[in-house]
Every structure is written in C-alpha cells, then in structure tokens.
C-alpha cells in the first residue's frame, strides 16, 4: 500500500490552521446540533414502531459480519447474478486501476462528458483528475460535491461534502462559474441558489454520455447495486446516460434484499435523521430490448484498495462500515477541525482508522491519537464498530514499531519506573506539589507551565495546595 495523495502526516499543522478559521468554525458550529439532533430524534421514535436501536444495530452488524466472514463467496454470488442480468463486472486493485478501467470504458464508447453521483471510491482514486487529463469532462452532481468541485477542493464530510462552505463562498463560486455578477445573499436565498444549480446540472444530466455512481450496497442474491440519495442525482445518472459505471468497494456486498431492508432502517436515521431517504434505487442489469430509457451497458468496478487485507485481520470490523457519517457527526475532534485536516478521503473517527490502514500506518501517525477516547462515535455507530478500540490497536502498532516520539517513550518509562517504587514516588510527588504551589504563588493557578506548554497555552492549571493527599493523610493518621 502507498500513501497516494494522503496529506495525513500534516495533521498537526492543518489542525492549527483549522481551529483558527472563523468561517469554518461558524459553519461547523451551525451544523453540529443539527446533525446530532436530527439523528437523536429519529432514533427516539423507533420504539413507537416497536423497534429498538440496540436490537437493530445488532442485526445490522450481524448482516455485515455474515457477508464479511464469507466475503469471497458472496462476491462470487454477486458477480454471477450481475453478469446473468447483463452487467459487466470488473475488478480494480487500487485507485490507478479504477482510473484506467473507467477511462478505458469511456474511450471505447466515445464518452466526452460524465455525470457523477457521489462516490467516495472515486475520491480514493482521484478519478476526476484522471478523467480530465484524458479529455473527459467529469461533473459532480450532488449539490455539495458540485460546490467543492467548483472550489477545487476535496469533500470534508462523507455525506455533507460542503459542510465547511459558507453561503457567501457558495455565492461567489456560483457567480464566477455561472457567469453572473455576485450578490449579497442571506439564508432566504438558499432555495434560489439551489435552483440555479439545478438548472445548470440539468443540462449536464441531459447531455452526459456516461453516469458514474457509487453503491451503498451490492445485493448478492440479485446482482443489484443499491443507491440511496435525497437529491435525485443518483437516479439521473443511472437513468439518462446510455452507460452506467458503478464503482464500489468489495466490502459493500450484503446477501439479500431482506438484509438491505434491515440496513435501511438504520442508514438514513444514522446519517440525516430521516426515516428513509427520498430515493432508494435498486439497479440491476441493463435496459431490456423494448425499453426506451436506462443504460444499455452497466459496468461494476469492484475495488480492493486495501480492503482485502483487512478481511480476517484485527480490523475486519471496520469493513462493516456503511458510510453513514454518524461517527463524525458526534465527534468533538471532527467538529473542531472539519474534515480536511484529516488529510485523506475519510475524516472523523472512521477516517482515523481507515486512513492509516489504507495509506500506511507510518503515514498517518497522528490520526489514531487525535481522539479524546470519548466513545461518542462507537455509541452511535449503526453497525457497532468499536472505533476507539480500533484506534487504540493502531496506537499499539505504532508503539511496537517504534513509531512514537522518543520523548513520550522515555517519559512513560520514567513514570512507570517511579510508579513501581512507592516510597520514591511519594517523596517525588511531595516535591512536585510544593513546586506547583510555588509556581502558583498563592494565586491557586499556574498560567505558564514549561512541562505542559500546550495545556497552559489555552488554560490555567488549577493548584489546590502544597501537600499531596498521602502526605496529609499520613499526618492525620498520626494525630
């Protein structure tokens, strides 16, 4: 595996920049309660229908586990059924192979313009750049993806790719791209901006030669791609062009339509707090002879790009992920930074696990550590992925491979050495208490502390007195 275009090694410096970006902070501050509030409300309503979140997520995790523990078999079943319905099934080891396969299909069919429905795999492959280089115009059609494509940026959230963008920024992008003067806008103008994008993208939908989409799931029993969207762009790109290419990870397969129905009880609720997304499309094969619309050719590209190596490993649970975004929507770190600081395709807790695994542990040293261990992510994950435990496992690997900074290693060893010598420990902590108290100088707090510069950069260090508990306790016992 290689780092590819990952920038995850620059996490610290990017984070420093992101926490100081007022536009971004305002956008995140606005989105946070909406994301968590909507989810909470929809989950709270489950018992009205005799359903329980914990029971449902056991079922969902079970479905994903069933597929993963016999993944080879389910993939072959999917492939056979998809081919039986006239689809072509191709396989890609990595991002470069995705690009090659897509460009090859496009060139064979004389494709000049591609409309795309959101696909994270295409981000992994940097497909848009590759298409453009081959003279094929890619157009992102999810409104959020369209906005960031205009801005020349990567998505900052897996289901709300433009969550970091303000209304003013969108207005500026639209004015420039759509060739009109820029105006003062308020939130009352958001429908008008949406309409403007609709008009522009409609023409692209009608004129594209090929549609590219991801798939939320592959359904093995019928060889079907399941596509879940709210805007309807997923339907457009899979209905109007003659050619449809589905790019998806090999882990996305589920056995049956019943399994899909179960997963759909949690996916929209976890993602946006909807009981169901506006459009759920099940796409199987190609159009029949008599049909006048729909693709005449459907191509599945099943991608590895690091996934197969997780099968049967300590990180297999990560492959259960259904890309709902709930973990980042409940992550205090994500909401302090937005997604770009994470440096690769996937942000938030799931990204902190996936990025090191897919791009190399040594290329993303900060990500597994940039977590408070609050477990807000694992408490909402609809497929019960123990994200904090997986991050912890990656920390252990870093330690075993000697990838932790020497200062930390030495410090911990010294601390442990001391902690296993209680008498010495008592003596030194007594000294430490006096030292802290001296630094506080009667104010009850330390404002600048050389041993914890990060801490005192933003906080005081409260100091309660000059004697440790054990010192005072011993004195009390003597009295």
């Amino acid at each position: 595996m290689k780092a590819g275009h990952s920038q995850a090694m620059f996490f610290q410096s990017r984070a420093a920049e992101k926490v100081r970006n007022p536009v971004l902070q305002k956008a995140l501050q606005k989105a946070k309660p909406l994301f968590s509030g909507k989810r909470a409300k929809s989950m709270a309503a489950l018992p009205d229908d005799g359903l329980e979140f914990e029971q449902l997520r056991d079922a969902c995790a079970g479905i994903r586990d069933r597929a993963l523990t016999d993944l080879d078999v389910w993939l072959e079943i999917f492939e056979d059924n998809a081919r039986a319905r006239g689809a072509e099934v191709l396989w890609a080891r990595d991002g470069d192979e995705i690009c090659k396969l897509v460009i090859d299909v496009a060139q064979r069919h004389g494709v000049r313009k591609v409309t795309k429905s959101k696909s994270m795999l295409s981000e992994e492959a940097q497909l848009n750049e590759a298409l453009a280089a081959a003279g094929i115009e890619p157009v992102e059609t999810d409104l959020g993806e369209y906005i960031i494509q205009l801005a020349g940026e990567a998505p900052s959230h897996i289901i709300a790719p433009a969550v970091h963008k303000s209304l003013e920024e969108v207005e500026a992008l639209f004015a420039k791209t759509h060739g009109r003067p820029q105006e003062e806008r308020t939130s009352a103008d958001i429908p008008a901006l949406t309409r403007e994008a609709r008009g522009v993208l409609r023409q692209h939908f009608l004129s594209a030669d090929m549609g590219i989409s991801g798939a939320n799931f592959l359904i093995a029993e019928s060889g079907t791609a399941a596509l879940v969207t709210n805007e309807g762009n997923g339907r457009m790109v899979t209905t109007l062009p003659k050619l449809h290419v589905v790019i998806t990870g090999i882990e996305k397969v589920v056995p049956t339509l019943e399994d899909f129905a179960t997963l759909m009880r949690l996916l929209p609720r976890s993602a946006t707090g909807q009981t169901i997304s506006n459009y759920v499309s099940l796409l199987t094969g190609t159009r029949s002879e008599e049909e006048v619309e729909g693709p005449t050719k459907t191509v599945f590209i099943l991608v590895d790009n690091g996934r197969a190596s997780l099968v049967g490993s300590a990180y297999q649970e990560m492959l259960r992920c259904i890309r709902c975004g709930a973990c980042m929507n409940h992550c205090p770190v994500y909401f302090s930074l937005g997604g770009h600081a994470y440096g690769w395709v996937y942000p938030g807790p799931m990204g902190s696990v996936l990025t090191p695994l897919y791009t190399g542990i040594e290329n993303a040293l900060d990500l597994p550590h940039a977590s408070t261990g609050c477990r807000q992510c694992s408490s909402v994950c609809p497929v019960r992925i123990p994200l904090p435990d997986l991050m912890h496992g990656l920390r252990e690997i870093q330690h075993e491979r000697g990838l932790r900074p020497w200062g930390e290693r030495l410090g911990l060893r010294a601390w442990a050495w001391l902690a296993t010598r209680p008498a010495l420990y008592r003596a030194l902590t007594r000294l430490a208490a006096r030292y802290l108290n001296w630094l506080a100088d009667g104010s009850g707090r330390i404002r600048i502390f050389g041993f914890a510069p990060g801490w005192t950069a933003a906080r005081d260090l409260p100091v309660a007195g000059n004697r440790t508990f054990f010192e005072q306790y011993a004195a009390r016992k003597r009295d």
Partner: protein, 216 residues
C-alpha cells in the same frame, strides 16, 4: 494474475476457510431461507399510516373512491397550484380519460420540458410513506424524475407494511427485479448549502399522491 484472481485470493486468505463450494451451497440455502431482521409493529391501519407518513415527508395526499374521479381531481389540483393543464404519463395510467377533464396528456418517457409527470406505482410502503415504482416499457422512470411535479396514483389495496413485504410482492408477481426499482419518499431535497433543507434539488419539487379506494 488478473486483478480479479488476485483480489479474490487475498479475500480467501483473509476469510481463512476451506471448501468454497460447500460454503457457497450454505450461502445459497441461507438466501432462500429469507430471514428478515427486526420487524416494526405498525399501529393502526396501513392506509392511515401511509398517508400520515407521506404527508410528514412533504407530499400532499388526496383520497378518492375510484379511478373515474382521478382526471377531474388532477385537473382541479393542477389549476389550484397554478400549473399548466398538461402532463406526461406512464402507460399504465394512460387509459384514464384525461382529455375529458381538460388535460393534455401524452404517454411515454418524460423530457426536460414536461412540467408534470403522472405515474402509477407497483405498491406503496406504509412504514415510511414510500412509493415503489418499477422501471419498464410501460413505466419509464423519467416520468417520476424529470418533471417538477410528480403525481402518483396509489391503489389502497397495494399498500403493504414494510419494504420486506414489498419485496415479497415483487418476487411473487414478477419473479425478478426490473432494471430499476425506485422507492420514492416525497419531493427531492438537499441540505448542502448551510444545512438548510430545500425541496426540489434535481427531481420533483412537488409530489402529490392520490390514494384510490379502500384497503381490501
């Protein structure tokens, strides 16, 4: 080695179990058993539930006793919305007497200029207030997608409880999935600009459901 062989070999190594053929047979048996997950208990009757959910998803709902009343209602509804009295329809509903109600209807796939699309549905799901449409020669998917207004005729007798029941109905009546099954739940929407929900992103801005008759 081809990419396919290499990837599958890696997956097999990870799965770490012998006897792929035996496991495949087990998988096929398991699929045929159709074990559903936790099922909802839907209080009240399916018709009321469907209507209530559909309205909560920003669709409008009208109930009519029979198909004869549909064209006049559609004409009146379009007029009330100040929409043109014309539409593109799917073939399965083309036989209604639209012209008698003053509507200019054409049947077949929709084009960009169509303001209103009228379709039937394969069935509807009460749990979520969702329509299930199948693509086909008589039922082009574009009718429910390109026009800004989508009107769907829903026979009350075709309202089932859950998506699982809809799949069972599909299997028993059609045997296999058509090219596209579209579950539609209200107008298209987006929240991509500052998390503000706007109806009518790429698909219809308005969805009007006409529920016909009573449940059996």
């Amino acid at each position: 080695m081809s990419a396919r062989e290499e990837i599958l070999a890696r997956v097999r190594a990870g799965v770490g179990k012998p006897d792929a053929a035996g496991r495949r047979a087990l998988a096929e048996t398991w699929m045929r058993a159709r074990s559903p997950g936790p099922q909802p208990v839907l209080a009240g009757d399916l018709l009321a539930r469907f209507c209530e959910k559909a309205v909560s998803l920003a669709s409008s709902v009208e109930r009519l006793a029979d198909y004869e009343q549909v064209p006049a209602h559609v004409a009146a509804w379009l007029a009330a919305q100040e929409l043109p009295l014309s539409a593109v329809t799917t073939l399965d509903v083309a036989g209604l007497d639209w012209a008698a109600a003053g509507l200019a209807c054409r049947s077949g796939p929709a084009v960009d200029a169509d303001a209103t699309g009228i379709s039937g549905c394969f069935c509807a799901v009460a749990e979520t207030g969702t329509l299930m449409l199948l693509s086909g020669t008589a039922t082009p998917a574009s009718v429910s997608l390109l026009p800004e207004t989508h009107i769907a005729l829903v026979p009350a007798s075709r309202i089932v409880g859950t998506m699982e029941e809809a799949f069972a109905l599909l299997r028993s009546e059609r045997g296999q999935l058509p090219r596209a099954v579209n579950f539609i739940s209200g107008p298209s929407r987006t929240g991509d600009i500052e998390q503000t929900i706007v109806l009518g992103a790429h698909g219809p801005c308005r969805v009007h459901l006409i529920v016909i008759g009573e449940t059996a």
